[in-house]
Structure formats: structure tokens, C-alpha cells
Amino acid sequence: MTTAPSGLTGPMTAAAQQSDAVRTPRKPRGGAGRGTAWYRRLTPYYFLLVPVGLLLLLTYVPVLNMFWYSVTDWDGLDKTKNFVGLENFVDVFTEPANVRVFVVSLYYVVGSFVQMALALYFATILSFKVRFTNLWKGILFFPYLINGVAIGLIFLNFLKPGGGLDTVLMAAGLESLIQQWTGDPDVANYSLAAVSVWRYMGLNFVMFLGAIQSINAEIYEAAEIDGASRWQQFWHIILPSIRPIVGLSFILAISGALSVFEIPYVMTGGANGTETFVIRTIWTGFERSMVGLASAMAVVLLLIVLVITWIQRKVVPDEEVDLA
């Protein structure tokens, strides 16, 4: 028994040695054997040079610049930038107008829960046998493919007085429900959050559906033999299996709610109490000409998102995340 392995390895080693022997004499002929190997090892890095170069140029350099601007009083134009320390960061939290915008984010946080519930509902239904599955999938995912600015413009016309929604309500005999969808300050944020849900639900839906479809079909079969209802299948099989994806969607939802921008910016420009943190940041940087303060706001937003991600990781430890 003990000789067998060595007998088996013997020829292989010999062959390896032989091939080495065949190769080695060639190296000195080149005169730079070590050099060739050294360069060969570098080859993958050359391929990385372009993407990493672009990443550094277009992402990391601007972000580092932003950190620098955030401790200066730069107005976006001046030739000199004066260092002011942490003054801008104090202003971010002490100016009441800067803090108030976080309240608006709550509408979108609530909206994103609605969005996840809807997405989960549709994903579960479509994971069972349904007619025209692909058509429904297409319809549900389609809004996510449309550009955010286009969506803003579509809904601007849909929600304006006498626009699409009012016409539909009138045709249905529900005149009493007609409101100023973006004009009434009590309704405006709900309208905008609903548009946001309409847009992003498709993404959640596809993520959930993908996770659900990766569940082994035999488990359902076994469950059906055991007489489990559809609801029991959802509660005991589907939901536990896709927990990591739900957790991931949760982080994306919170950070998305804090950095809402396109839809309210296009539809109301942040007027009528719909100003979000990012709209205020843009305004501070470009209309108020305080690029230093605006950079500090951007840094704060970045930190908040990082903290939320960290908390989520601590609170909901993901045992088997293979997608994160």
C-alpha cells in the first residue's frame, strides 16, 4: 500500500523534472529569464490599468476633492480656498432648514416598505404557475428601465390638475377624490413617494424573484405532498430562503430614501415642502454658492449611509449571503 502511491507519483515527478529540464536551458538563452517571468506576472495589472485609472480619475479623485472642499469656505469660483476647519459640519446640523429635510426622507422610507411588500407579493405570485409569467415580469420591471427624469416628466403631466389621474378618477365617478396631487402640501410628499415606489418596485421584484427561483423545486413538491397551503409555503419556505436578499433590499431602501433626488427635483424642484437632503445640497452648492458647506453635507450623507449599513449588518447578521 505504501509503495503504490510513491510508484504512482514517481513517473509524474520525473516528468515534471524532465519538463523543467527541458525548459531551463532555454531561459539563459534569453539572457533575462527572471525578467520575463517578472513581467509576465505584471501582465494582469496592465489590464487593470485602464479601469482602475478611470475609477481613480472619475471617482476617487473627486471624492477626495470633496473631502477637501468640505473643510473650506469655497464658493465654487474663487481662486483661493480658505481652511475653516469643521465649521461647515457644525452648520450642517445647526441650520434648522438643513435638518428639516430629513423629515421628508421619512415619507420615502415608509414608501420603500410599501415597495418591498408589493415586490415580495408579486414575486411570490409569479414564482407559482401563472399564465403569461414573462409578460407580467416585463410589465413590472419596465418602469425601472425608464430614465428617472423621464418618469418625473411623465408623472408631472399625469398628476397635474386635469391630467391623466384626474381624468381616470372622473371617468370612474370618483370626482370627490381629486386633489392637487403636487400642489397640496399635505399630499405632495405622498404623491412623490408613490412615484418613487412605482419606479423602483421592479428592481426589488426582480431581486426577490431571482432569489425565490433559486429555491429547489423539490422542497415545494415535498411541502405539497405534506399538504402545505400556499401561505404556509410562503411563510416557511420562501421567506426564510430569501432573508439575505430582503436584508440587502432593506439597506438599499434606507440609503435610497435618504438620497432621493431625481423625481422630486424634476417634479417640484423641492418646492412646497418636498425638499430632500440631496436637493438641498445641490441648492447650497450652486444657488447659494457655498460649495464648502454643500460638500460637508455630501460627506455627512455618505457617513450616514455607511453607519446605517454597519448597523444593519450588526442587527441582522447574514449567515449565507452569497450576493452581497
Partner: protein, 441 residues
């Protein structure tokens, strides 16, 4: 040679070149082809940045370029770049050296920054002997910009609608103005007697044109930088913002301000669905064109002064529109200067825009002759030496940012919801202003 080695080197160079090429593609563009021509006769090529994209598209600028080249045959090429988001884009471009040869000075450049970006055109006295309204773009005795056209301020209205409602005289108090709007509303107007253009925002800043005319005080701006209470019942700001608040609270403006539309508003005024909009006189030709396009009589569009009489006369602040300046990095300053002078003297731009000529004693356009004969024009006094940037600094530090429509949108929000009274709004604005003053001082 070692093929392996050489290939990797080639690859490295290629990769580095790609990165560089992409970078260069971002920062490249015009400016490189001009020959140096700092003084002497206008020659060579010139790049002009303009905010009037409409005039670039309809070929008006092509005519200007033809005429300019006919006068100065040595000039080989004039490239006109129309920029839609003029303020934002030019401001960003100004962090490079490449922002054309002749351009309009963006409003966000503060006076103490002029010399960093723009070539001095001459002393204030020299330029002031020929042109008016140059104080705005002067700093420490040097002038950096010359306005292309002068505007008067008041409001543009549909004469037919006003007369049908029985209002034939210019209202001479804010109350009379509100009464007139109420009469128009009672007589029946489809959209609103007064359109705010709240959604687009910037037209709300046009109300600032009334500042100074309310108290007929050419020093109003220099006085409020010394005051902790710019918003009072009879101050310039107080009358303007109070009037907006009252008009909205009385329901004299459009029902849903968040869905207004600027392009649409021109047609609404032309057809009489809207009776009044507060805009500078620059808006007259645009409104007339929209009325004509809608099949209405462009003569219905008329212009009225700020509804306040001081000592028995209406007043209106006359001032320059955008000012043309020369890029301090320009390689062709002589030609750039020739373009500015030619544009103001010979292009006929100001008359085509129904505006006053920036040249002293220049022609008054037909559309404004009546207005100018009834209304006393005021030119605002320059800020005292050393305080040129003070207004802007306080404005910024206070967080109000009067150059931006946001605070006025807030006033309209409050007027609609009744969340705050006008006194509470004024107290809040005054408190912020005082705070801004304290932090700047």
C-alpha cells in the same frame, strides 16, 4: 530583442495613452486654435458664449457674425456657442481657462472676483462716458462688463383683458393693484388674474425688479446692508413680498402653483387666460411672439410700471441685462473688445429686443416710448467703495439667498396654507438677515 517584454511595454503605453486621451477629451475643445493677438487690429478667430440659444437657432447670430466680418475682414471666424443652462455651465467652465473670448458675466461672480476672470475694459469714467448702467460690473474704479440692453421693470399684462374688466388706469398703489386683479377675477378669467410661474421659480425673482421703484430710492440696496429689518410694511422688500403674499392669499393667482409652466404661460397671457405677469421689459417681445403664434393680437400685450407712486409719479428701475465681458485668458482681446463695441453700436440687438440702448442717449424702442414718457427712470447707485460684495455676502450667510426664488416660494406656500402670517414671515426673514449681517461683520 525580447518580444514578451516589448509587448508589455507597448501595452502599458497604450493603456496610459487611453487614459490620457479620455482625460484630454473631457478637458479639450475650443480655445487652442487662436493665434495670439493682444493688441492692434481685430483679426483671427473669436469664440462668443451666449445665453440666447433661440437667436443662435433662428440664425440671428449668423447675420451678426456676417456683418461683423464684413466690417473687420481680418477676422477669420466667429464661433457662437449658445448655452441653455448659461449660469450653471459657464460658472463651471470658469474653473478652467476655456470659457470663450467674449461672454456674459454670470450673476454669481462677486465684484471682488471680476479681476480674476475678466479683462478690465477701462476705468469706470472712460466707459461711463459712453455707456450707461455700468456700475453693476465695476470694481475699484475699473469696469469689467458692458450691458447689451437696458430693461425697465414693472409688469407685463394683457390690455384687452384688463380693459374688459373695467381697469383702464395703471393702479398706483399695491391695494389698487390687488383691486384690479380682483375685478379681473370677478369679470372672469380662465386661469388666473396673476400668474406666478412658481414651478419654474426664476420668474419669482423678477419681482426684484420692483425693488427701488417702490420707495423711489436709488440707494435702497446700500441701505439695507446697514439695516437689520429690510422687511417692513413699507420697505421695498416688504411691499413686494407682502403683495405676493396677499395676492396668493386672496386667490388671485393660479390654483396649483406647483404645475406652472413657463413656455405655456406665454401662450396663456397672449390668449388672455392669464391677465398679468411680473417680468422685466425684456419679456415683451417674447410675449408678443407667443400671442401672435396663438392667433391673437400682439398689440394686446402691454407694459405697466410698479404700482406705487412716489411724489405723484411712477418710477421704474432701469438697468442692464447681461453684461458682456472679456475672458482674462483670451488670446484675442482686441477682437473681443471690437465685438462688444460693435454689438452695442451696430448690431441693433437692443432695439430688436424692445429694450433701451446701453449707449447714453441711445434710441428708445417703439414698444417702450409710452412707458418712458410717463414713468421716471431711476438708475441704482453703486455700492460704496469697499462694500461692493457686502450685499452678496450677507445674502449668502443669512441663508435667504434673495437671488434665488426659494424664499419667495416659501412665502407662497405659507400664503396658501395660512401656516404663517406675513408678519411672521417678515420677522423670520429679518432675523435671518440680521444674523447674516452679524456673521459677515
Amino acid at each position: 530583442m525580447f518580444p514578451q517584454k516589448r509587448r508589455t511595454r507597448v501595452l502599458a503605453v497604450a493603456a496610459a495613452t487611453t487614459v490620457l486621451a479620455l482625460t484630454a477629451a473631457c478637458s479639450g475643445g475650443g480655445g487652442g486654435s487662436q493665434e495670439a493677438n493682444d493688441d492692434g487690429e481685430p483679426a483671427g478667430s473669436l469664440t462668443v458664449l451666449t445665453w440666447r440659444t433661440d437667436l443662435v437657432e433662428d440664425g440671428t447670430f449668423d447675420d451678426y457674425v456676417e456683418q461683423f466680418k464684413a466690417k473687420y475682414p481680418e477676422v477669420t471666424d466667429v464661433k457662437v456657442e449658445g448655452i441653455t443652462d448659461y449660469e450653471g455651465e459657464v460658472k463651471t467652465r470658469m474653473s478652467t481657462d476655456d470659457y470663450g473670448d467674449v461672454l456674459a458675466i454670470p450673476g454669481s461672480v462677486t465684484p471682488d472676483q471680476y479681476a480674476d476672470f475678466f479683462e478690465p475694459l477701462g476705468t469706470q469714467e472712460e466707459i461711463g462716458a459712453e455707456y450707461q448702467w455700468i456700475n453693476d460690473k465695476s470694481f475699484e474704479g475699473q469696469s469689467y462688463g458692458i450691458p447689451v440692453v437696458g430693461n425697465v421693470q414693472g409688469y407685463v399684462y394683457n390690455k384687452r383683458v384688463w380693459e374688459e374688466a373695467g381697469v383702464t388706469e395703471f393702479p398706483d398703489t399695491p391695494e389698487a393693484f390687488l383691486d384690479a386683479l380682483q375685478k379681473i377675477k370677478d369679470h372672469g378669467v380662465e386661469v388666473a388674474p396673476l400668474y406666478t410661474n412658481y414651478k419654474d421659480g426664476w420668474p419669482l425673482s423678477q419681482w426684484d425688479g420692483w425693488l427701488g421703484a417702490v420707495t423711489a430710492d436709488p440707494d435702497w440696496k446700500n441701505e439695507i446692508v446697514e439695516s437689520d429689518t429690510p422687511w417692513t410694511a413699507d420697505s421695498d422688500y416688504g411691499v413686494v413680498d407682502g403683495l405676493i403674499y396677499q395676492a396668493v392669499a386672496d386667490g388671485l393667482t393660479e390654483a396649483d402653483p406647483t404645475t406652472t409652466n413657463w413656455e405655456e404661460s406665454k401662450r396663456l397671457l397672449g390668449t388672455g387666460q392669464v391677465a398679468t405677469m411680473v417680468l422685466g421689459s425684456w419679456a415683451i417681445p417674447q410675449m408678443q411672439a407667443a400671442a401672435e403664434a396663438a392667433g391673437e393680437d400682439p398689440a394686446d400685450i402691454a407694459y405697466a410700471p410698479t404700482p406705487v407712486k412716489v411724489d405723484g409719479t411712477f418710477h421704474s428701475v432701469a438697468g442692464g441685462d447681461y453684461n458682456l465681458g472679456i475672458n482674462v485668458h483670451s488670446k484675442n482681446k482686441a477682437t473681443a473688445r471690437a465685438w462688444i463695441d460693435w454689438f452695442n453700436h451696430e448690431s441693433g440687438f437692443s432695439e430688436s429686443q424692445a429694450g433701451l440702448s446701453p449707449i447714453i442717449d441711445g434710441p428708445v424702442p417703439a414698444a417702450l416710448e409710452g412707458f418712458v414718457s410717463e414713468v421716471e427712470l431711476i438708475t441704482l447707485n453703486p455700492a460704496p467703495e469697499g462694500k461692493e460684495a457686502l450685499f452678496g455676502d450677507i445674502d449668502k450667510a443669512s441663508g435667504i439667498v434673495t437671488t434665488d426664488p426659494k424664499f419667495r416660494q416659501q412665502t407662497i406656500d405659507d400664503a396658501r396654507s395660512g401656516a404663517r402670517t406675513i408678519e411672521q414671515i417678515f420677522d423670520d426673514l429679518n432675523a435671518k438677515w440680521a444674523e447674516g449681517r452679524a456673521s459677515v461683520a
